[in-house]
């Protein structure tokens, strides 16, 4: 029967899902019981806001959670503090803070260097060694698409130094590249692994280019008005092409390959026939693997996919698949050695032949660096992008220095950068997080401001690295070069280089003064002049920050009425000092902090006190936070649960609350994509909103509920929940027992006890009785998480492109299939899982 219709015709029927469900099970409440209970519930609910608000004065020494769990005033305060100052309490956190004392805990959090975080550090360093390389080393070891493109063009032209036709609009770049080659600053490394990373990506790039050319040719033949898909036109040193662009081009045809592999396994003799059919030996190929690998593999029989005849392709596949299985069974080091030794073409085929579980199998036992190399051989940029997000997610989830993590997140949002700005930005973000933001997260605002101004990530994101003083030496040189240039476009490009206002404007509007902070368009132009010369070294040389005097606009500038004498880079520092110490900045920052930590519309008196604290302490962030922590407003009843969690806060707090073991955070990174708040994914420099509006809408709620079910149901790849461990001694009961209420509203006491235990673990306020009833009524629905997993597929989209799931497999969690393969233990307490899923998706859990 259609439930909607049933509700429409039956006057007695509530649309309320719980009751409908109970009735459909023949377990509906009888009238009298229902009315009486309903009244009681109403009374309870009227009281609830008071209780939830933690109004200690009216509550006496201890408050009784409805679930029967005693909660002291202290506990309520601690939960509030943990909700606001951390990414949410984990099981046991409240007790730990209580033992230590709340004030002591807060002071310790303000001084993160005093908190041991070595376990996390060790884990991150062993799992993601690339994230701890210097920026230059990262760019050299794991070259981005720009380098790959350059090298592959060079290779196509042979080993000579001829740099080919000059690309319009990019004067000098090729020339510089040629120079770098000569200086050996950009060359194919000799280390076999590093070499493979270059060679395989170049091969992949060529394959993609060829496919694209074929497609374009076909389209041209059809006379269709195809879109220019933004091919690297050579016109952009900093291409606007996105990382996912190359990711999507890589999608293999896994089904076909996998079935072919089954054939191979089923008919080994046939395969060995294929083996003996003249295919070259891997070892032999490995020996010859160098930068000519492209040509060499092109010389291999039947290796050119595009014109391979069908039977040959079949033989090829059989061979590869059998070989793939062999490789998977090798010990880790040998496995890697074989893969590194493969010619690029074979590597690509091998990689694409792996199914999710096979990929996970391949990843087993590999060191962090080996995994990185394997991923980088296909797409270094994607590997780097995926790792920086995993690191950020893991830190937020697991750092003991939670306030530092929260503040790092806050400043990363305040000083927003966008990972897809261009193909270099992903390489600049690890240092941005590690060296620019995190060390200053609880320090002086001015230090942080200067660090961001000098960071390559910000220089590139807001275009300042390209800004040139109109009267600078660089502009003059450009003018002279323009006069000499033959190509009119090059001529004009050189002649018209000059200011870019982007950074100057956002520096004042978004980083410091705020939009009404009293600056004008004239100030924007003056500040832009001040910051000319601030920039980066060429990306191919590592993109470190540099001040280039030749680009700096000479002369005196006037900013906000103050005269800035000509003084090179110091002008910028003087302006940053002015901005950092401005009362407008103090207020702007204090307001933003109060919105993050207190309420969407924070009390003006509190903001004013924080502003004063900022000004008196020279912009000391610790002092501002302490002022807030010690304020009466922070602890006021109206403040409790006043904040709706952002998707990021929701996801992280849910994982923390459930005590999940996160082997791989990629699925959580992907979940944030899906919930509309991808890490490093805000394109515009204002960052994400800390206010509830915008995050509370229909689509978002649907996604949150599905995420909650998927997480609690242990269906999130790489994230293990274990409710049996958490709920302890309460034994799961058979489903039919759970709801054997005999029509009297009776709920199995053990189920009820488990529900309460979960409530205590997951929530810091009691559920309303209705919510609790809804939870209990569903405790025997064990398919929901599986269904929700279908709704909440996180494989596609985002930076990771279609490759997210594949990378996940490699990093030890896996896509859905890989996860299944890796999971050694089935979720045994589905009853608890479904109840927990409902709680994490409940209105109560959406607040902090």
């Amino acid at each position: 029967m259609n439930k909607v219709d049933a509700m429409g015709v039956s006057g007695e029927r509530r649309k309320l899902g719980v009751v409908t469900e109970l009735r459909e099970c023949g377990l509906g409440w009888q009238g009298g019981v229902r009315t009486a209970l309903a009244f009681a519930l109403c009374v309870l609910m009227v009281n609830q806001p008071l209780m939830a608000a933690g109004n200690q004065d009216k509550r006496g020494p201890t408050a009784q959670k409805e679930g029967g769990v005693a909660q002291s005033k202290v506990e309520i305060r601690i939960e509030h503090a943990l909700n606001r100052l951390t990414f949410g309490p984990r099981p046991g956190d409240v007790a730990a803070v209580e033992k230590m004392g709340l004030t002591e805990w807060f002071e310790q959090q303000l001084n993160p260097e005093k908190i041991d975080d070595s376990a996390l550090d060790a884990r991150l360093q062993s799992q993601f060694p690339a994230m701890f390389l210097s920026q230059q080393e990262l760019m050299v070891r794991y070259p981005g698409q720009q380098v790959i493109r350059q090298l592959s063009m060079r290779e196509e032209r042979g080993a000579g130094m001829g740099m080919g036709p000059m690309a319009p609009g990019r004067p000098g770049v090729r020339g510089r590249f040629a120079q770098l080659y000569q200086q050996n600053q950009l060359s194919i490394p000799n280390d076999p692994a590093e070499r493979a990373i270059y060679a395989d990506q170049i091969a992949l790039y060529k394959e993609q280019q060829q496919k694209k050319q074929e497609k374009d040719a076909a389209a041209a033949a059809n006379g269709a008005n195809t879109m220019d898909s933004g091919a690297p036109s050579g016109g952009q040193m900093m291409s606007d092409g996105t990382v996912s662009g190359s990711a999507s081009a890589q999608a293999p045809a896994p089904i076909e390959r996998r079935s072919a592999k089954k054939d191979a396994q089923a008919a080994p003799s046939q395969s060995s026939d294929a083996m003996s059919g003249g295919m070259p030996d891997y070892e032999a190929m490995a020996a010859g693997k160098d930068m000519k690998a492209g040509q060499q593999s092109a010389a291999l029989p039947k290796s050119d996919v595009s014109d391979t005849s069908a039977p040959d392709a079949h033989v090829d596949k059989l061979y590869r698949d059998l070989e793939a299985v062999k490789i998977l069974n090798l010990p880790p080091d040998e496995r890697m050695r074989r893969v590194i030794a493969m010619p690029p073409k074979d590597f690509l085929a091998f990689r694409q032949s792996l199914s999710g579980p096979e990929l996970a199998q391949f990843g087993q036992g590999l060191s962090g660096q080996q995994r990185e190399i394997f991923a980088a051989m296909q797409n270094s940029t994607r590997m780097v992008g995926a790792e920086e997000m995993q690191v950020r997610m893991l830190r937020d989830l697991e750092s003991n220095r939670q306030l530092e993590a929260v503040m790092t997140d806050f400043w990363l949002n305040h000083f927003n950068v966008y990972v897809r700005k261009n193909q270099n930005e992903p390489y600049l973000i690890p240092a941005y997080e590690r060296e620019t933001i995190l060390p200053h997260a609880l320090g002086k605002f001015e230090d942080l401001l200067v660090a961001t101004a000098e960071s390559p990530a910000m220089q590139v994101y807001l275009d300042n690295w390209q800004s040139i003083g109109p009267n600078s030496q660089a502009a003059e040189n450009g003018g002279r070069a323009a006069a000499r240039a033959q190509n009119p476009q090059v001529k004009a490009a050189l002649k018209d280089r000059g200011l870019n206002e982007n950074y100057a404007r956002e520096l004042m509007e978004l980083h410091t003064l705020g939009v009404n902070g009293g600056y004008t368009q004239a100030d924007v132009i003056q500040v832009a002049k001040v910051f000319t010369g601030w920039g980066i070294e060429p990306p191919v040389r590592g993109a470190a920050f540099q001040f280039d005097e030749r680009k700096h606009e000479p002369g005196t500038k006037v900013v906000l009425g103050k005269t800035i004498k000509e003084d090179g880079m110091k002008e910028g520092l003087e302006v940053l000092h002015m901005l950092a110490t401005s009362p407008a900045t103090a207020k702007f920052i204090s307001t933003k902090l109060a919105v993050r930590f207190v309420s969407d519309d924070p009390p003006p008196a509190l903001v004013e006190r924080m502003t004063q604290a900022y000004l008196k302490s020279d912009g000391d962030i610790k002092t501002v936070l302490r002022t807030m922590f010690e304020s009466q407003e922070f602890w006021a009843p109206a403040t409790a649960h006043a904040k709706v969690k952002t998707p990021e806060e929701f996801v992280i707090s849910a994982v923390r609350a459930s005590g999940a073991q996160v082997n791989n955070s990629l699925a959580l990174v992907a979940a944030l994509d899906k919930l509309g708040m991808p890490l490093y994914g805000m394109q515009t420099p204002n960052g994400y909103s800390w206010k509830s509006e915008g995050w509370t809408n229909t689509g978002a709620l649907v996604n949150r509920m599905n995420f909650a079910l998927v997480l609690a149901g242990d269906k999130l790849p790489g994230v293990r929940t274990d409710w049996t461990r958490l709920t302890g001694t309460v034994t799961p009961r058979k489903a039919e027992m759970a709801n054997a209420d005999g029509g009297n509203g009776y709920i199995d006491p053990e189920v009820a006890a488990k529900e309460r235990r979960l409530e205590t673990i997951l929530l810091d306020q009691p559920l309303s009785e209705k919510t609790r009833m809804a939870v209990l009524s569903q405790s025997n629905d064990t398919t929901a998480a599986i269904q929700a997993a279908k709704e909440f597929q996180t494989g596609g989209g985002g930076l990771l492109g279609g490759g997210g799931g594949q990378l996940a497999g490699l990093f030890g969690g896996g896509g859905p299939a890989a996860a299944a393969a890796l999971r050694n233990q089935q979720q045994d307490d589905r009853q608890a899982a479904i109840m927990a899923g409902l709680m994490l998706g409940s209105p109560e859990f959406q607040r902090r």
């Binding site: 439930k3 909607v4 219709d5 509700m7 429409g8 015709v9 006057g11 509530r14 649309k15 309320l16 899902g17 719980v18 469900e21 309903a38 109403c42 609910m45 009227v46 008005n225 879109m227 220019d228 036109s233 952009q236 606007d240 390209q466 800004s467 018209d496 280089r497 206002e501 982007n502 404007r505 939009v515 709706v644 899906k674 919930l675 509309g676 394109q683 204002n686 995050w695 809408n697 229909t698 689509g699 709620l701 649907v702 996604n703 509920m705 599905n706 309303s768 209705k770 919510t771 569903q778 929901a784 998480a785 269904q787 597929q793 409902l838 998706g841 409940s842 209105p843 109560e844 607040r847």
Partner: protein, 440 residues
């Protein structure tokens, strides 16, 4: 199907009038409210949004029409001077030595303006009279902040930050609908945009196929019903209201199954989020879910550096932009005559190119209006010129048409939002001042 949403389904009485939070969902209380003249309160902030909504739904009598308004926001400030190019102006070329679209590259419209070659797909629509162009349109507010300017455009109140709702939401309010569908206003994206925030319910969704809790199927899953029970009964007014909208929308979507509406033969949306959004808007509209206003946006227009001319960054964005819109138009088939689509962007860009082969934040811009009732084939608006002395503050195209005049006409003639004072308070947008972009 019988569902008319929660206000008809909920006929129970919990016997507990002190629970004010669900009072509006009980008929008795609603009648009391109406007797006391609740309508008079509509529009004040004194009553919760969901309450005024239900009262409106009950009381209003405006006939349903089949007209639909699609609003597209180009976030980041598109460079209008390179989109619809004043190709006869010498100074345009003088100011843009490397990024101008050359005379032999533009697609001529009227002997003065020409389309960027990458939006050639608009030319047939223009020739057929479906597409009108308004040049030098924009906001009277001088801000060059993306976020303020977007905020002002979306709220429809330039210079006024305290406005809480968006102009399109108010346009729906000004065009009351007796049986407002949960899908009356939809935004494709993760969030309800400022444009659609307000008293009238609006749905945000990313992907039609995912819009279901704990299972797809034709009916809602038990777990979804359990969640619904939680949210229905929540004392959390923000989440409770959103929850109600959510679950009603989920049910409607399951019943209508818009996924079965594939694009018409031969229609191909470009890959990417924007094409996907327009495709799904078409699906929702074809599924007769009662969509009247749809919103989506497309970013990537903030071309401070290396924006290119006939080819390059901006050109690539324009390709995606125009092919998606053209595909949508064709996909709507016969129903396209009931559709009006309007595009906007927070401001234009500097008339002169900057020092990095791009353009900085400017002022006036170009808007497109596409629709069955549009009197197209014409570039509307007074052209201010791009001689140095004609530029706003000596650097940007000057605004000669207030963007609200354009939006007001489309809302008036498409949605029937006759009370433009509600839509654009204080703007004095009047039918007499319309540009005459549309019939009706």
């Amino acid at each position: 199907m019988a569902s008319r949403g929660w206000n008809s389904a909920d006929v129970s009485d919990w016997g507990c009038d002190i629970c004010g939070r669900d009072a509006e969902r009980r008929r008795v209380s609603r009648r009391v409210f109406m007797k006391n003249g609740a309508l008079a309160l509509v529009g004040t902030s004194a009553i919760p949004a969901f309450l005024s909504r239900s009262v409106l739904a009950e009381m209003t009598t405006a006939a349903a029409n089949k007209k639909k308004l699609v609003v597209i926001f180009q976030r980041g400030a598109v460079d209008g001077l390179n989109v619809v190019v004043p190709y006869t102006e010498q100074n345009y070329y003088a100011m843009r030595p490397t990024i101008a679209v050359q005379q032999n590259e533009v697609i001529d419209l009227d002997g003065h303006f020409g389309l960027h070659p990458q939006i050639a797909g608009f030319k047939p629509l223009f020739d057929q009279g479906h597409l009108a162009i308004v040049h030098a349109a924009g906001s009277p507010d001088p801000t060059r902040s993306h976020f303020d300017a977007q905020d002002y455009m979306e709220s429809g109140t330039p210079g006024l930050k305290s406005t809480e709702d968006g102009w399109l939401n108010r346009a729906l309010e000004a065009a009351p609908e007796e049986k407002a569908s949960a899908f009356r206003a939809v935004a494709l994206g993760a969030q309800v945009p400022r444009t659609l925030q307000g008293k009238m319910p609006a749905i945000a969704l990313n992907n039609l196929a995912d819009f279901s809790v704990g299972g797809r199927g034709q009916t809602t899953s038990p777990i979804s019903n359990a969640f619904q029970a939680m949210y229905d009964q929540s004392t959390d007014t923000v989440l409770q209201g959103t929850g109600q909208e959510t679950f009603e929308a989920v049910k409607m979507l399951k019943a209508a199954n818009p996924a079965e509406y594939k694009p018409l033969a031969g229609v191909e949306y470009p890959a990417g989020a924007f094409g996907n959004s327009l495709k799904q808007i078409a699906q929702l509209m074809k599924a007769n879910l009662g969509v009247e206003a749809a919103f989506t946006d497309i970013g990537g227009w903030d071309t401070h550096q290396n924006q290119g001319g006939a080819n390059g960054q901006l050109a690539n964005r324009l390709t995606e932009f125009s092919t998606a819109i053209a595909a949508f138009w064709r996909d709507m088939g016969d129903d396209a005559e009931n559709v009006t689509l309007v595009t906007m962007s927070e401001f234009g860009r500097t008339a002169r190119q900057n020092g990095t082969g791009g353009t900085d934040h400017g002022h006036a811009n170009v808007m497109f209006v596409l629709g069955g009732a549009v009197k197209g084939g014409k570039v509307y608006g007074k052209w201010p010129g791009v001689e140095n002395e004609q530029l706003n503050e000596g650097r940007d195209l000057a605004v000669t048409t207030d963007f609200r005049t354009v939006l007001g006409e489309t809302a008036y003639k498409t949605l029937g939002a006759k009370n433009l004072e509600v839509v654009f308070p204080g703007a004095k947008v009047r039918p007499a001042g319309f540009l005459g972009l549309m019939r009706g």
